[in-house]
């Protein structure tokens, strides 16, 4: 039972890392797309890709919190006490990002759009960094058990946290670039296919390099997790590396579905590898999953809710994706501004 709850937690973290991460990564490419003119076309692809689904993806974060505080409340208290600063930054970043994205869709004056776009892009980089840094702090044993606070600064400003933060940013950028290549292909924008393909390769190379450096850092700073990564989690590490390279390989010619799936598998396997590596600790070497788990009644309730979620949300999600992929949910509102058409001047 406790194991099932921990699996649920890690499944939610993995899904959030992939789909939420892809949204954050798209924000990264928005940030680096350059000035208003140069960045216009990549931004169109980006906007298109995170149109209708952005909100649903971020509900996963709330789900992670709910499972954590309900099933592992003591660990949740320890984490929030210790990681007060990066969690606060992430929360502020999420507010800014979500709000500026929604506002950006609703306003049409170019200047207003641009400032919302900038806020959106900056916070898209800040949030995954903070979450990566928190994961690094947990992996390297900076969070004590018992609902107590660890070091308020060193817990997230330490080598493992920095590496994990950078890894989070680079992996989300990589996944997003691969998915954007596909989206550009669907929009029949061959120039943008090339644009994002180059970026996917670059981000993949950076992510790979950071992961490699990360292994050395983890070896000296988080020996338990390193032990796990090089033993029981090794298959996942290998899958992640192979899938990551495979996705780039599949990008060479015409983009196809395989590349997307491989990129998703690479990111997912990476997060799962972390989870398996620190098993059976929730907080490595201080709090095990079974010691942290709530009474069975609570766990049952959460698993029932998760079961209902599978029954209700999965079909709903499939419906959303199918409708979206069939083009039945077109972006609206953009063309209802008077006078703004293809030929209209932009202030």
């Amino acid at each position: 039972m406790d194991t099932a709850a921990a699996l649920l937690l890690f499944a939610a973290i993995t899904i959030y890392a992939i789909f939420g991460g892809a949204d954050f990564g798209a924000g990264f490419w928005d940030l680096t797309a350059g000035g208003a003119q140069r960045g216009e076309r990549p931004r169109e692809v980006i906007d298109h890709s995170i149109g209708p689904v952005w909100e649903a993806n971020h509900v996963w974060l709330i789900f992670i919190f709910v499972v954590l505080w309900t099933c592992f409340s003591e660990a949740y208290a320890s984490i929030t006490l210790t990681m007060f600063v990066p969690l606060t930054l992430a929360a502020l970043g999420i507010v800014l990002r979500g709000a500026s994205f929604a506002f950006g869709k609703a306003v049409f004056r170019q200047r207003a759009r641009r400032s919302f776009g900038a806020i959106f892009a900056v916070s898209s980089v800040l949030v995954p960094y903070c979450f990566g840094a928190i994961a690094g702090g947990i992996a390297s044993g900076q969070v004590p058990a018992g609902g107590r606070a660890g070091d308020p600064l060193r817990s997230w400003v330490n080598p493992t946290s920095v590496v994990m933060g950078l890894l989070a940013v680079s992996v989300t950028a990589y996944v997003a670039a691969v998915l954007l290549t596909w989206d550009a292909h669907r929009l029949s924008d061959e120039a943008m296919v090339g644009y994002f393909r180059v970026r996917a390769v670059a981000a993949g190379a950076v992510a790979g390099a950071v992961a490699l450096v990360g292994l050395f850092v983890v070896r000296s700073e988080a020996s338990y997790v390193f032990g796990g990564l090089t033993s029981r989690a090794l298959p996942l590490v290998i899958i992640s590396a192979v899938a990551g390279l495979g996705a780039l390989f599949l990008l060479r010619g015409r983009p196809h579905r395989g590349g997307r799936l491989a990129a998703i598998a690479a990111a997912g396997a990476l997060v799962l590898a972390w989870g398996v590596a620190q098993w059976n600790y929730l907080l490595p070497e201080t709090l095990t999953v079974s010691a942290a788990a709530a009474p069975s009644g609570t766990i049952t309730a959460v698993l029932v809710a998760a079961g209902l979620a599978v029954l209700l949300i999965v079909p709903a999600f499939i419906l959303l994706y199918v409708l979206d992929q069939r083009g039945l949910l077109p972006e609206e509102g953009v063309d209802d501004e008077p006078g703004r058409g293809p030929g209209a001047s932009r202030a």
């Binding site: 649903a56 709330i62 949740y76 208290a77 992430a90 083009g327 209802d336």
Partner: protein, 469 residues
Amino acid sequence: MTLFADVLIPMMEVNPVPWARAQMAFTLAFHIILVPLGVSWSVMALIANYRGIRRAEADAIRLAQRWSKYMAVTFAVGAVTGTVLSFEFGLLWPQFMGHWGEAFGVPFAFEGLFFFLEAVFISIYIFGWRRLKPWTHFWTGVPIAVAGIFGSVSVVAANAWMNSPEGVTLDTAGNVVAVDPLGVIFNRAMPLMAAHMVVAAYLVGGFLVAMVYATAMLRGRRDRYHRLGFLIAFTVAAIAVPVQMGVGDGLARWVYSNQPVKFAAIEMVPTTSSDVPETLLGHLNSEGQVVGGVPIPGLASWLSDPSTGRATVVQGLDTVPADERPTNRQVNVVHLAWDIMVGVGTALFLLTLWYWTSWIFRRDMPRSKWFLRCAVAAGPLAVLTMEAGWTVSEVGRQPWIVYNKMRVEDAATTNTGVWITLIAVTILYIGLGVTTVLVLRGMSRRYREARRFEETDSPYGPREPVKET
């Protein structure tokens, strides 16, 4: 240097409890305004949508379409401010969550489920206007309304549990050893509190939306479109108001029986007695005596239990030690908030009475400009009653975070930097609030300017073009 030593360092070592309370209160007060829009606006849009398809009314369809787009903005702001709350549970109240999360968290597992459904279907509904078939599209909106109700019931269940912490077994040290999830969710405070909040969502959402169209009508835009916008929203509110009075009355009696100290704070009763007057306004002085106000003899007793009338005994504040009940200042806050809720609520009831009377006798809404002016005022006043009601519930529970089980001061974070986050959050939220209003107004202005371009933007077209009337 002296500034640093005398001002900044002491500030960094402040007691985090009041700051944490202030931040939680502020962010909740903000979020609670978005809740009614999330819960009830979809229903109003669906009413317009239904009417639009049934009667082939272009105005109704246009209304539903625009409402769904405004909804998208308020839903997004509600989603992010709600996400912040899930951070804050841990950031501000780690000991509360660490100790009680196993019980308190259970309703949120279900809330997450409903919120997920709401987010998915809102995406489909908002983006599905052009290409989905009309009735298919209408039905994709229905789950939003249903999930909105169940989602808010789940959240209120968690809050109700704080008032009536059931379904947990504790060991001698006070730690939770077993949890009965159904006992937690369906705690005794839940049914009436949840009903009170859901009805409030329709009441406040209806008045807020009606306010916009009443303003437009006062400015001379009395066409069919604006009239319909007003009628749908105001009717929803006008149905909710009398229902709310009944639910609220029931909830007050529940508090009388189950949280007598909170009830004593609401009615400002220092000592136990029968024939307790209902004191309008007034306050407790530092000695805990009632000062000022207008006492209506025996009314508080009579309302608490009409069957025993003025003989009904109301328990006083002094029946529990001073450190287990709200302070005199908190009692004054609770009592004032109560008076505001009931007073303004009654005024809103009179306004809906005017509306219904006019419908019964003239088959039309009141023609008077004064009615529209009152309807404009009803928007912010409805928000005020909701905030006041929430204040009664939360401040009235003090000093407990979990009624009779955990104190607020024992629940809070030990991070002394909370004052910084409070300032940051305040600035951020003020910016967020102002921007939300500006964006919504900008959208509305653009829609007005774009009317002559609308042939190209007809919903459900080109599959089934709706003719301009």
